[in-house]
Every structure is written in C-alpha cells, then in structure tokens.
Symmetry: C2
Subunit: 237 residues, 2 copies
Amino acid sequence: VVVLVRPRNPLNIGAAARAMRNFGAEHLRLVNPYAVAFREARSAVGASDVLRTAQEFKSVADAVADCVLVVGTTAVRNRALQHQLRRLHDESARAIRTAMNSGRVALLFGSEKTGLTNEDFTHCHWLLHVPTQEKQISMNLGQAVAVCLFGISSAVPDGVPGDEACTESAAVSGEIEKITQALYEALKISGYVKPGNDAVSEKKVRRLMLRFNLQVMDAKVLLGMLRQIVWKLRQAK
Amino acid sequence: VVVLVRPRNPLNIGAAARAMRNFGAEHLRLVNPYAVAFREARSAVGASDVLRTAQEFKSVADAVADCVLVVGTTAVRNRALQHQLRRLHDESARAIRTAMNSGRVALLFGSEKTGLTNEDFTHCHWLLHVPTQEKQISMNLGQAVAVCLFGISSAVPDGVPGDEACTESAAVSGEIEKITQALYEALKISGYVKPGNDAVSEKKVRRLMLRFNLQVMDAKVLLGMLRQIVWKLRQAK
C-alpha cells in the first residue's frame, strides 16, 4: 500500500501510480490530497487501474488501519527522531518483504513541500530513508516512490514458507490504534494526561504501542483489558 | 554522465537532472533533444547547475566520446539483442562503479516513446534493465533515471585502490570510435563491405571493437595500424 499524505501535484500522483504498476504495489491511498490534484490525476488520459481505484482518507490512522507494518519515508537524517531510521538497503527492504508475508504493508510519503510531520511519524513502526548526496537530500515525490518500490521489489524476503507462521499473527494498525485510543482514554480519565498537553501524550502512547510489535491475540487481550479499565474509570468519575 | 537520447518532455529532463543531484551524477548530455523541451527545462524556475551546464550533441558517438564505459538502458527483456543484458542489481551496479575508477561512465536513456534504437545500442558496451512487473515494463523516464542512479550509487565498487591500475588504462569511447571508423573505412575500400549494406556492417564493427575492451595503449597502436592501412588502400584506388 502506497500512502501519499497531502499530495499537491497531480503529476506526482500519476507518477506514483505508474511506479506502483512497474514494481507491483497494489493499493494507492491518499490522505487529504489537494482536491484538484486528485481529480486531475484520476481523469488523466490513460489513468491506470491503480489511479482509478485509489482511495481517499481523512487521516493517516484510517489509511493504514488494515496494515501490519507502517513505514514512513523521510529525507531528513537527523530530525530529533523518536523513531528508528533505516536506510533503503537490502536489510530494510527484506524486513518489508518479510512483513508482507503476514499482511499489508503501508509505505508513507509526505507532501512535496513539507514531507511527513511528526504527527504522521507516530503512526509508523519505523522510518525509511533513501541515501542521497548531502547537498541535495530532497527527492521528487514520484521518483522517491519509484526508488523505494524498486528497492523493496528487488530484495528477497527472509525465511522459508514454514517461517511465516510466526509473523502471520502481527496485529494490524487499526487494532493497535484502538488500543492506543483506549489506553489514552484511560490515561486522560485517570489524570495521568494533563489537560493542554494532550497531543504530545497521544503520540507517545501510539509510538509505545507500535514498539510492542503486538500479535493478533495479544492485541485482542490488551484491548479487552483496556476497555474494561476505561469502563470502570468512567463509572468512577 | 547521464545521456538522454531524443528526450521530448521538459519535465523529464528536469526530473533527470534532479535525480542526478540526489545521487551525485555530474554531467547531463542530450542527443538531439526536442528543442523546445530543452529550452523549457533549462529556463525553469530553480534550474540547477546540472541543467544549466547540460550539453547538447548531434550524435550518441559524440556524447560518449570521452567515456570508458557506455551502458544503455532498456525496458525490453528479449529484443533480438546482440548485447549482453544485465539486470540492475548489485553485480551490474558494482561493475559500473568499478569502471568509474578509471574514467567517465555514460548511462544512456532513450526517448519517452521509443527508447533506445538498435543503432544507439551499438555504442554501448552492454545494456542495463530494471526488473519490473511483466504487465508494465515501461518506466517513466525521470523515474528510470532515479532508480538506475540509486542502484548504482548504493553499490560498493570492487577492488582496493591498488586494483585500479589494471582498469585505469581502458580506452575511452571516442578512441574506440576512431578505430571503428578507420576499420570500417578500410573494409569499404577493400570491398569487404558491400554497397547498400553499410549500416549493418558499421554497427557490427563498432560492437566488435567494444567487445575487445581495449586499453589505452593497445587502442593507440591499433588506430595507428588501421590508419596506415586506410592510407595505403586509398592510394591503391
């Protein structure tokens, strides 16, 4: 799944779709695209199935809800990152291919001007970076999509078929987001989260949950626990 | 050196230049570009040094004359190719990086519509192919440049500094072209080349010379021999 967050240029949306067809990515999703750009890209002559079936979402959380792995892309090497940053190379590409054995993987690309925000990053398990020259680190969006998909498609996934069982049960982002929301709710009601400082804490919670690498069953159990706690907390208010 | 042969779209020329800056390629050369496209690309807002210093050539031979290795790109897997075809992968990328120890390497990209012709191929030592899905083998020009340069830039060249001596003396394409022309001239005058069949034979001669992997000194000697032969043949006419 290729997720373009706030894309502004129809040519870049079209270019992303074309690279997806070259390298075999199936689902194009757009988070709050510039409306005109999306319309133009879709109505372009020869628009492919990828473009015609592209879906629009209101938030990154919604766009990645069914994915077992969410990878953000960034040109910046040393933003004060609270995420693991990996170079596009055999090892990181293999990690993505291996995760594809267990479910959908989302690759996030930010807008042409600003890239992904720190808020966007909180939805990511880790960040991917294409090594470039120091002088010119910012890539064209369509080219970045092409390079990343090429790098991923040319890597060989780890493990033999028998190995898949152990990864097959990774929880999708939508489930982890439910846990995040439940825990956050619990933290708010419980007074752990101070009013006026909400945004920071929600991000921290989300990152924490992603680092857990939750399996399906564990996620289900944890969500049940948290919902029970929230229910109790609400009663006690 | 990135050589765009007959490019038609200014956006693609600009995109190629941008990818070159991302991945550290220095010289952009255009063979018979669509004039309007080249003008527009160069006058674009924020045109980079790469674009401003881009050079125009009348022929592929001229554009690659100072290069020790010329690699053509092609989307097609099994055209009736008389050239070695290699996938963009560690091994082929390393071969290019290793050649860069001894001189300039040219990477040729054909026009958006038709790609490189068989005539263009005759100037290449070998051909490079980006592995794609069967259903969609044709890449956008700007994306193809980005993917190839990324693949090459992320490979590690073979050999230690001490090894360079053995490759440092590879003859540049301009020298090999002189040999090709001299030999071809000799073949024409000598009657080996039949009138009406010129084009085919010139290509064959060029490919033959490229396969020799001539070193600087050997090329010099061979050229001297052939020029002498031509001189003699002309006298005898």
